[in-house]
């Protein structure tokens, strides 16, 4: 128990240190690197909470794919962030108030892993008991995602796919007449600055 507390305290400290370093840095590539490190540590946190599947997703999506996507987007950005000297009192105040409200609300949540909490009473026992006979896939999370809530997953996949296709269509590199695209981009560049 005490060791569990020790590990959690260590992980939270490391995450806090990374977050402070993120605030201090001005180089864009370093921001992306630190974000990747942050999600690595966050996935460790999920492991200590016994949420292996979430940790898997965090490791592959948070630390892997999103880092690469950020990097690909970063190729269009300037190397350094601009210094911003405007008054930051109001944003800081709103952040602190929001955080205080969230912490205050978290006191009403049931304890982690409590069996009598409502989320473990309603439909989860059905899924856990029936999964092997109904569907026959060894992994319960997979059977919930792909079968019990199959329509949900189907809809989500369609939404994500449509969004991806739309982005590809918008950003398509016009290969037939590259001059056209280039002049357009140049015009936009001139307009922006």
């Amino acid at each position: 128990m005490i060791s569990e507390l020790l590990i959690n305290a260590f992980l939270v400290t490391v995450m806090l240190a990374i977050a402070i370093a993120l605030l201090k840095t001005r180089t864009v590539i370093f921001t992306v690197i630190l974000t990747s490190a942050y999600s690595l540590v966050a996935a460790l946190m999920f492991i200590t909470l016994d949420a292996v599947d979430v940790a898997f997703t965090e490791a592959s999506v948070g630390a892997g794919i999103s880092t690469i996507l950020f990097l690909a987007a970063m190729a269009y950005l300037p190397k350094k962030e601009e210094e911003n000297f405007s008054n930051q009192f109001l944003p800081a105040l709103s952040c602190i108030i929001l955080g205080a409200i969230l912490i205050w609300c978290s006191y009403d949540l049931p304890e982690i892993g409590l069996i009598s909490s409502p989320i473990h009473q309603h439909i989860v026992p059905d899924y856990i008991l029936g999964s092997r006979n109904d569907i026959g896939i060894p992994n319960i999370v997979t059977s919930v995602l792909a079968s019990y809530r199959g329509y949900d997953t189907f809809g989500e996949t369609i939404v994500v796919f449509t969004a991806g296709v739309a982005v590809l269509v918008l950003l398509q590199n016009n290969k037939k007449n590259p001059k056209n695209t280039k002049s357009k981009i140049n015009k936009i560049d001139k307009k922006v600055g």
């Binding site: 060791s3 590990i7 260590f10 490391v14 240190a17 990374i18 370093a21 201090k24 180089t27 590539i29 370093f30 992306v32 690197i33 630190l34 990747s36 490190a37 690595l40 540590v41 996935a43 460790l44 492991i47 200590t48 292996v52 940790a55 898997f56 490791a59 592959s60 630390a63 892997g64 880092t67 690469i68 990097l71 690909a72 970063m74 190729a75 590199n173 590259p178």
Partner: protein, 88 residues
């Protein structure tokens, strides 16, 4: 025993974090992040053994691969300025 090893991982993780935050050049930071990834892989495996559920090793394998791909992607962007084949 496992706890002692985990604490050693934690100490070296903190030392590496110091290098990440101090680091003069980008290469120092990339190198340190890569080492932090290795430490985290070891930490996951050790934590699995410590809590008596060595099934966590699957995640450690995924990490070991993701860490490599991430580092190579960062270095490629740093060398060529883009990830894809954008004609300049």
């Amino acid at each position: 025993m496992y706890l002692a090893a985990l604490i050693a991982c934690g100490i070296s993780g903190i030392l590496i974090l110091v290098r990440i935050i101090l680091g003069k050049t980008t290469f120092d930071r990339i190198l340190a992040i890569n080492s932090l990834g290795t430490i985290i892989v070891l930490g996951i495996a050790l934590h699995g053994f410590y809590s008596g559920r060595p099934e966590f090793l699957d995640i450690a394998i995924v990490y070991a691969l993701i860490n490599f791909i991430g580092t190579i992607a960062v270095l490629k962007l740093f060398s060529t300025g883009s990830l894809g084949d954008i004609q300049k």
